[in-house]
Amino acid sequence: MATPVYDILIIGSGPAGATSARFAAKMGLKVLLIDKRQELGAPIQCSGAVSRHALEEAGVEPNAEFIHEDIYGFSIYNQEGKSTVIDYREIKPDEYGKGDERKPLGYVVDRRRFDRYLMTQAERAGVEVWLKTEGLGYTPGKDGSCEVQLRRFNRLLKVKAKVLVGADGLQSQAGKWANLRTHIPLRNLASCLQFIVDGVETNGLLEIITGHRWAPGGYAWVFPKGNGYTEIGLGVVRTMTNRDAQWHLDQFIQKSFFKERFKNARILEIQGGGVPLAAPLRTQYADNLILVGDAARHVNPITGGGIHTALSGGRIAGEFLAELIQSGKKTGKANLKSYQDRWLEAGGHKIWQLYGEKTAIFRNKDIHLRDEQLYQTMSGYFSPDSTYKKI
């Protein structure tokens, strides 16, 4: 069989990969999108909170197919249960709320449905998608394109592309293939566990609980999940505790100021993962290769949120590659550097700033002071006049 040839090959059909693919195909590129899973988004490794603004900016119409529940604001708690409530239904009642002309601030989405929806939108824009296809490695060639080694339903095959997009998430191997420095140290990766439960009430707010006692190095959360279900989860940094996330989550459920509220909780699903509270990669490109989304550590290092940044980075990557390839320019690393520059301009610099703030908080050895700073920073971050509002 002759080697198939594409303009770009994207590894990983999460929010970053599917969005890169959709924008590149819309602008006329021949795109192959692959994912090793049989069902996108499963098993779930995400809580699914995303702002409406983030979806709109990436051209994703909010759709009942993937929305678990509408969100109207935040409630940030300190260790003892004191809270700052930021409810947009009260701050701007004409704009936010249910019904007539009013809208939610954001959503909790079902990542299985959300990722499938994004893949479908990419397919409709002309992208070719192969599931059960794993990326194994890539070799830049002399002709200016690269050869990518794949395994599809156990069959080894090769595909040629001008650019390989590594959108392969947190466990990304694509950057390692190009010898980029992708390693996340233990102190910058939060170990997370979450339960979807029945029997716990919520009120359209994302609740964030800070404090070293409950979640050393991270925070705990209570999110509405639709149909009366709720998610209780937390992330901890293992250089700050000798116990694992499971132990901390049990403590939080049984001992925190929410123990009464949680006492009838019945577990329906168990999920987890790693959240990089890390800096973006300093180099996100190599010959015939760029990285996007979690693979490039495009994540908000204070909240750990990475859906918005995956969508916006995906759009930048797709549009950039379409412009570059259609102009007939070479796809070596010298030209691909402009992708990273564009990403930094569009919001990446702000992520670096947030990383600086986060590092300053956790460098503080005084636990009380640190807790207070984290509580203030989180409360400020979600307030209506935050400078980081749109990240």
Binding site: Q45, Q173, I184, P185, L189, S191, C192, G272, G274
Partner: protein, 75 residues
């Protein structure tokens, strides 16, 4: 300082939630992965930083020295 002795990891599959955190934190070269998206289980690791065991939210990774590996565990 003496080099650390290589170890082989075991995953208690019953508790593993397939979250991939162990792979994300691992400084090994590309491909040090099992068929179930955890760190490799049949290849000895010579870095021995133990970040994988620490990051695991359900503490289901354990190890043995590679040269003392018992056949009963080889899965």
């Amino acid at each position: 300082m003496a080099r650390k002795e290589p170890v082989v990891f075991f995953i208690g599959w019953n508790a593993c939630i397939n979250c991939g955190a162990c792979v994300a934190v691992c400084p090994q070269d590309a491909g040090f992965i099992s068929a179930f998206d955890t760190i490799a289980v049949n290849t000895p690791c010579d870095i021995v930083c133990m970040a994988c065991e620490k990051i695991c939210p359900v503490s289901t990774i354990t190890h043995q020295k590679a040269n003392e590996r018992h056949e009963t565990h080889a899965a």
